[in-house]
């Protein structure tokens, strides 16, 4: 009969917790703002901005005690999928939703760019101390296996000041679906028609050559362990881990190194032709200082919110993030939005509504 007693205790416990979650009168009611209702907002998706989002959320929730935002980094693809099924309140993705997915979504979807990231090309050539330079066509040919040696004539022409060794090139790419791969292949597709035709762009593609590594850490580990290898990682990761990276020739013919500034210039160059839905590719952007492999990361929200409290708090959080979150973004090597884009995002946030009433 001991078991029956235990069972009763457990059921009582469950009832208590089930009842206790809704109200929490001790904390929600005592706040200064009378309309402040306690809400939990659930989001999931891209892992690339997760370090920044979790920092933002921690800061924001310190200021707004009635809000809890639960972001789970499960990958862009899963984020879009679950957002489309409305099982989460907002999604995170590095690749904008394609038209066919937007058409199938159960409501009008807003793409809210939050920050930008860049992709750095890293390498391991023990003989070379300085930075190597790469041009778009050379990079595309390396990733297609057409340039197989570091002392290839075309590489030597680009790098006259360093002595490149007679070493085979080992290409390293991501083995998992990733927003970083999406930006990288977006770039290769935009600079090489052949790449676009044969391989294309996506979070995971059919790589012509090379070996895979899981995540940024997998790729960088592979590159560090293999002499003669080349790989790509997101900029924040490369900077934090002090990986060597190549200078890339941008659309103005300048060699630029990956940096937060270079990313901001890329966004500024592309800002003027930003479409209304804010779904834009900023690879190979115009501008002398623009770094060519960069992209926005997005938060997906429905324009028509189903719950006014959640919708209002979500819109407020995003507003705060793109205005007050800049410094934190810089600290973590993400590029904040350029002013023009910020204005456009403000418009989008104001358009979030519940039953025809704007929530901001």
């Amino acid at each position: 009969m001991r078991i029956r007693g235990l069972l009763v205790v457990f059921i009582l416990f469950l009832l208590w917790t089930a009842g206790g979650c809704g109200g929490q009168p001790g904390r929600g009611g005592g706040d200064d703002a009378p309309e402040a209702k306690k809400v939990l907002i659930n989001g999931a998706g891209a892992s690339f901005p997760n370090p920044l989002y979790s920092r933002w959320i921690a800061e924001y929730c310190k200021l707004n005690k009635n809000v809890r935002i639960n972001y789970q980094s499960i990958g862009s693809g899963a984020g879009i999928q679950q957002f489309s099924q409305k099982v989460i309140d907002f999604g995170g993705t590095d690749a904008p939703m394609p038209d066919d997915q937007l058409a199938r979504a159960p409501g009008e979807v807003l793409h809210i760019p939050t920050v930008m990231g860049a992709v750095a090309v890293t390498y391991n050539i023990p003989e070379v101390k300085g930075k190597i330079k790469l041009s778009p066509d050379v990079l595309a040919d390396i990733y297609q296996g057409r340039i197989a040696k570091w002392n290839d004539r075309r590489l030597e022409e680009l790098n006259t000041e360093v002595k490149l060794p007679d070493r085979s090139i080992l290409v390293v790419h991501r083995s998992d679906g990733s927003g970083t791969t999406n930006i990288f292949t977006d770039y290769l597709s935009s600079v090489s028609p052949e790449w676009r035709q044969k391989v294309g762009q996506g979070t995971a593609v059919d790589w012509p050559v090379g070996v895979g590594g899981k995540g940024n850490e997998g790729v960088s580990r592979q590159v560090q362990a293999t002499e003669g290898s080349i790989g790509y990682v997101e900029l924040a990761y490369a900077l934090l881990n002090r990986l060597p990276f190549a200078l890339l020739k941008n659309s103005s013919g300048q060699f630029v190194e990956p940096s937060v500034e270079g990313t901001i210039f890329a966004a500024a160059g592309a800002a003027s032709n930003m479409p209304d839905d804010l779904r834009v590719s900023i690879v190979n952007a115009p501008g002398h200082k623009a770094y060519p492999i960069a992209g926005y990361t997005y938060i997906l929200v429905y324009k028509e919110q189903g719950d006014p409290d959640k919708g209002r708090e979500l819109a407020r959080f995003l507003w705060w993030a793109i205005h007050e979150g800049d410094q934190m973004a810089n600290d973590l090597h993400y590029a904040p939005l350029p002013g023009e884009v910020q204005k456009k995002v403000e418009e989008k946030l104001k358009s979030i509504h519940f039953k025809g009433k704007s929530l901001l």
Binding site: R2, F10, I11, F13, L14, T17, A18, G20, C21, G22, L40, N42, A44, N50, P51, S54, R55, I57, A58, R68, N70, Y71, Q72, S73, I74, Q85, K86, V87, I88, G215, N216, E217, Y237, L332
Partner: protein, 282 residues
């Protein structure tokens, strides 16, 4: 003759040696796993781990209090669903529908169910509960784990009930007890210990499940005990923390693994100590 006997003797010794070696290896493996996890997990097992919520990415400090609580709630929900259902099915298979075509069908269904990969169960619950309720929830996680438990508990219960001597049933029936009372008052108490230990094995099995939780309870960075909200769990957090590129997070993952294993092992030991009756398993 002599040669033949020698040959047999050598063969016998060899086989005994092989059995001994296997025994050593399997207990050695258990010790190795436990020892390795303890070695890595113990340094992080401090008060913070059990009282704090996760810190933002890349920042120091923080714990997994919400995941420990979440795991208990998920396992509790799974038990509420899996134990009555599983034991009921086990009783049916052993006592009622033993030789009928219907019983055979149920037995086949249970066998197939126990072979279904847990991730499929997760996707099933995702489509019937998560999508319908428009939210990941502790409830969905508990249902998924409960469904995974049912075939394990059912087959084990059936096996244990089969071990209860036939004479007991006949004696009880001969005394005029109705059939349902025979089951409830005679057979089940006799087999309680074996059934209980089987249940703890099933609990241990689902306590470490990660794949179905991905689609059902997801995870939560906050202290949340609501059944209709996403809830954190140790396996999900271990997965998240172990695959992150930060050393401090890896330590949390190890500690999470240690806590999970401790919960499972102590549950099994408790069941062995507390449950009354004769253990037919041995």
């Amino acid at each position: 003759m002599k040669i033949l006997e020698n040959h047999r003797l050598i063969w016998s010794r060899l086989m005994v040696g092989f059995c001994g070696l296997s025994t050593l290896l399997i207990s050695g493996l258990l010790l190795l796993v436990l020892g390795y996890i303890t070695l890595h997990g113990l340094p992080g097992a401090n008060l913070n781990f059990f009282t704090r919520l996760p810190a933002p990415v890349g920042m120091e400090g923080g714990g997994l209090a919400q995941a420990v609580a979440g795991s208990f709630i998920l396992i509790g929900l799974a038990c509420l669903i899996g134990i009555p259902w599983g034991i009921g099915a086990g009783i049916f298979l052993s006592e009622v529908g033993k030789d009928s075509w219907w019983g055979e069908g149920v037995r086949f269904a249970v066998d197939v169910l126990s072979g279904v990969p847990s991730i499929i169960t997760g996707i099933f619950v995702y489509s019937i509960l998560v999508v319908k309720l428009q939210s990941f929830s502790a409830l969905a996680g508990g249902v998924a784990l409960g469904i995974i438990m049912v075939p394990l508990v059912a087959r084990n219960t059936e096996g244990i009930l089969q071990l209860v001597p036939q004479g007991l049933r006949e004696a009880a029936l001969a005394l005029g007890l109705p059939f349902w009372k025979v089951i409830l008052k005679i057979i089940l108490p006799t087999a309680a210990r074996g059934i209980g230990i089987g249940v703890t094995l099933a609990v241990a099995g689902v306590a470490g499940e990660t794949a179905p939780l991905f689609f059902t309870s997801l995870s939560n960075n906050y202290w949340s005990l609501g059944l209709l909200e996403p809830i954190a769990s140790l396996p999900m957090e271990i997965f998240r923390y172990a695959t992150a590129p930060f050393a401090a997070w890896h330590e949390l993952a190890w500690t999470g693994a240690l806590v999970l294993i401790t919960i499972v092992v102590s549950g099994m030991l408790l069941a062995r100590i507390l449950l009354p009756g004769y253990n037919f398993r041995r």
